[in-house]
Symmetry: C2
Subunit: 547 residues, 2 copies
Amino acid sequence: MKKSALQTARAAYQPKLPKALKGSVKVNEGAPTQSVADQEAIAKLFPNTYAMPSITFVESNDSDNAIAINAGVILSGGQAPGGHNVIAGLYDGLKKMNPSNKLYGFLLGPGGLVDHNYIELTDEIIDEYRNTGGFDIIGSGRTKLETKEQFDKGLEILKELKIGALVIIGGDDSNTNACVLAEYYAQIKAGVQVIGCPKTIDGDLKNSEIATSFGFDTACKVYSEVIGNIERDCNSAKKYWHFIKLMGRSASHIALECALQTQPNMCIISEEVEAKNMTLDEVIEQIAQVVAMRAANGDNYGTVLIPEGLIEFIPAMKNLIAELNDFLAHNASEFSMIKKSAQREYIINHLSEANAAVYASLPEGVARQLSLDRDPHGNVQVSLIETEKLLGEMVGRRLAEMKKDGKYNGKFATQYHFFGYEGRCAAPSNFDADYCYALGFNAAMLIGAGKTGYMSAIENLTAPAEQWIAGGIPITMMMNMERRHGEMKPVIQKALVKLDGAPFKAFASMRDEWAKSTSYVYPGPIQYFGPTEVCDQPTITLTLEKA
Amino acid sequence: MKKSALQTARAAYQPKLPKALKGSVKVNEGAPTQSVADQEAIAKLFPNTYAMPSITFVESNDSDNAIAINAGVILSGGQAPGGHNVIAGLYDGLKKMNPSNKLYGFLLGPGGLVDHNYIELTDEIIDEYRNTGGFDIIGSGRTKLETKEQFDKGLEILKELKIGALVIIGGDDSNTNACVLAEYYAQIKAGVQVIGCPKTIDGDLKNSEIATSFGFDTACKVYSEVIGNIERDCNSAKKYWHFIKLMGRSASHIALECALQTQPNMCIISEEVEAKNMTLDEVIEQIAQVVAMRAANGDNYGTVLIPEGLIEFIPAMKNLIAELNDFLAHNASEFSMIKKSAQREYIINHLSEANAAVYASLPEGVARQLSLDRDPHGNVQVSLIETEKLLGEMVGRRLAEMKKDGKYNGKFATQYHFFGYEGRCAAPSNFDADYCYALGFNAAMLIGAGKTGYMSAIENLTAPAEQWIAGGIPITMMMNMERRHGEMKPVIQKALVKLDGAPFKAFASMRDEWAKSTSYVYPGPIQYFGPTEVCDQPTITLTLEKA
C-alpha cells in the first residue's frame, strides 16, 4: 500500500516502555481482590478467577526464562486509535520471551476465533502497521463470545495452533466476555490463558485501577482539532450557531474532554441531564437562554457540543421510546396499514398522555424517525436520530416564541456537524502509541507469568512513560451484577461521567463564563515531532482525575 | 485569550521570505500586459489601470528609501487559513519601509470601509495573531464594494486617516472590485493605491501568473486528514459506504486535491459531469456500478468524494432549478395555498415534461428542499441541499433494482459527512504560513513601488521559499467580460478544473484502479515541526501543474 509522508516518518517511532518492562521482570503480588459489588454472586460465578491478587511487574536481575508459548489476538468492537500498537507490543513481548513464540491474529473480530479464520503475524506484517491508526491489520467485528458452543469451537483452533494464551482487545462487554472465557477454560483445564486489554474511544472503561481506555486520547484530540477550527470560523464570521454532536452513546466523556480542550459556549452532559431529571424542553430552554443572552450582547453566534447519547439520558424521552417500542411491536400490522400522513396522529392517540405530549412536541422529521426507522427487533434506532438538528430546530422555535414576547431580538442561523468516524482510526498520538504498545507488551508479560482472567494495566499515566507502572488487574475485580435482557449478569461496571469528579467540576466552574464571553481555545492538529508540551500531554480528563 | 500549547509553540515560527524581499528591493518591469479576453472592452473600462506591466522584485544594493505611507487592510468573503499572516507580512513590510507607517484594519469586511469601522493594528495585536488561523483579527464580511457612493464614502475615512494605500484580501469577485476601486481612485486622483491578494480555499482564483490562492493548501490538508481517517475506518470495519461532501461550490479543485491525497474509491468532478452532459441518473448509475463491482469482490464498503457544487453542474438539474425558480416566483401566492402533501404533484403537473421527469425522480426530501427552502429572492438554496444524502439514497434505490434483476448481491449501508467549516480557519500549514506572509510583505513592497490595480503575486512556489519570485500582476490582465445579473461586466475569470490539466489527468489515470482495489492513503494531520518532506510539501495539484 502507498504510504503518506507522515506514515513513513512515523513508522520509525519507537514507543516508550515503562522502565520495569525494559529488561527481565518479576511479579509483585498484592492482596487478594474482590469485585466492586455483588461479591458473593461474582465469586460463585468465577470460582477459578475470583479473588486473585492485583500484580505489578518490577525489574529483575534474573535472566529471562525463555517461556515458549504461542498466542492469539482478537480485536473486538469499534475501532480505536492504537490497536495496531497493542498488537505490535504483544508481538515484541512474545518474541523477547522466546523468538520462536508465534502470534496468530483472528480475523474480523471474535467471529474469527469461532469460524477459525486467522493469519500468523510476522515481522513483515507487524512492521507495516507500527504506529498507524485503524484495526485493518486483522479487522474487527461485533460478534459476542458468550456461549459454551463458541468457546468449544474456539478451543479447537487454539489447540490446533498450539495457542496457550488469547489476548482480547475490547471494551467493557468484550472484557467481561474475556473473563467468562478465562473462567471456562480454567474450569475445563483447557490450558489457555485469556488476557483483556482496555479499548474504547468513549472513555467509559475505567475505574480505580484502569486510568483510561486506549484511543480516548487520540480521538478526543482529533475532535478537538476540528471543533477548535469551527470555533475559530464561528468567531471570525460571527453569524452561525454551530451544533456539534460527538460520538459516545453510553457516556459523555468525549464531549466533556473536548469541552475542556476547546471551551465552547455550551456543552450538554447527558449524565447531568439525567441526574437533574430534565425534560427535552428544559434542555432546549437552557440553550435558548444562552443564545438570547449572547444576542443581547450583540453576539449572534456560538458553539454547542452535544453527546451522541443525549436522547436516551432524558428520562421523558427514554419513557417515550420504551412505550413506542412496545406499542409498535404489538401493533405492527395495524400500524403498517395507516397512511404516512396519518401516522403521527395515530401514535399520539394511542400513547399514554405524558408520552403523547412529548411525542407531539417533537419536530416532524424526528417524530418520523422515532416511529419509522426501526431495527430488525422493532426498536427505535436511536443512533440515527440527528440530535444536533433536533436541538437546533427546537431552539429556533423557542427563540421565535421569545421574540414574540420581546425577550429575544437576534438572528439565529445554524450549522450542524457530527464527529465520530473522523477519530476512531486516526494514527495514535504519542500518548496512545506509547500506552498501547505498553499494554500489548505488558499482556505478553502477563502471559509469561502464567496469568489468566487479568486485564493488562498500565498506571501512573500522567508521569513520563519511563515511570509508568505495569501490571495486571483481575477482571472480576471490576464486575458487578446488572440486569441484561431480563437476566442478572456479571458485567464490568461502565464508567459514566461523575458529577462530583474533578473533570466535570472544572467544566461546571467555567461554563457560565464560556457561555457569556467567547473563550474558545484552538488546540490544532496532533503533533508528533515538536516540543514535549505540544506532543506528549495526556487528556485534561486524565490529568484532572489524577491530580 | 487562553492559548493552546500548539498555538504558543507556533507563535514563535518565523515565516520564510523569498530572497529578493529580505533586503532592499528594486522593480523589474516586464512588457505591457493585456487582458485574457475582451481586450477592447476591458481597456475602455480601465483607462488608468490597463496595459500596465507585470513586475518582479529583485535584490537591490541601494539602501531603503524610507517611504512614509499609511495603509488600510480589508478581509473580504469566506475565511481561509493564513489571512492573519498576510496582515502580519503587510505590517512588517510597511514598518520595514518606515517605522512610523501605520496599518489600519477595517472591521468585518468591506462594510468596515464604507461604515468607517476600523482599528489601528499595533505590534501587540499583530503578535497575538501570527501563524494563527481565522479572520478574527479584524473579521470578514460579504459586502460588495461596487458603487461610486461606497467608494466616495470609503475615501472620506481614508483621507481622515491619511491612508495612501488599501490592501483587499479576497477571492475573484473581491479582487475584481479592488481593481474597479483602483481605477476609480486613479481616475479621480484620490491618491489612494489599491492592491489585491488572492484568497480562497476553493482554489478557483488562479491563472498563468497566480499559481494558487492562499488557504487551499491548508484546507485541503485538513479535509484529507479526516477523509484518510474515515477511509481507514472504512477499511477496518468493512461495512459502510461513506459519502463525503466537500466545500467548493464553483469548482471541484478541493475534491480533486483531496482525491489525489487520499485515493478514495470514487471522486465526482463537477466539471467532468458538465462536460459530458451527464444526467443525475447517469451519475447515480456510475456510482452504483462501482458499488456492485466491489460487492462482487466481497467488498461492501467504500468512500466517495462529492464536490458541494455538483447539482449545479448537472445540466438537467440546472435546467430544473432555473424553471422552478421562475415558476415559483410567478406563482408564489397560488403555490402557498396548496397543501404540503399536494405540492409535489402540483409542481410535476406544471413543469415542462423534461423537468417534471427529473423532479419526479428525486427523493422526497430533496424535492421538498428544492420547492420549499428558498432564499429571500425566491431562489432555491442549493447550498442547503444535502447532495451526499441525495446521491446515497438514489444509489441505494438503484441497487435495489439491480438486486431484483440479479445484477447485484451485496449490502449497502451508508454514512454521510460534509467537510467545510473544519478547514477554513485551521492554523496555516508551513506552506500557507510562508506564502501568506510573503504575499502581505510583497503587497507592502508594491505599495512602496507606487503601484495600484495590482495583485500581489508570488511565483515558483514548488521551490523552497528562499527561491520564490515576488512581484505584481495587473488585475486587468486576468479579466474578461461575463454576463452577471443580465449585464456584461468585467470580471476575473474563474479557474475551473481543466479536464486536460495534469491534476485531472493524473486522477483519471488512476481512478479505475482505486475503484476496484482499496488504495487508500492516510495523510494524517498537518505537521509543523517534523522532517521537511512531511511539513513543507505544497499541494499535489500545484506540484503537478508546475511539473
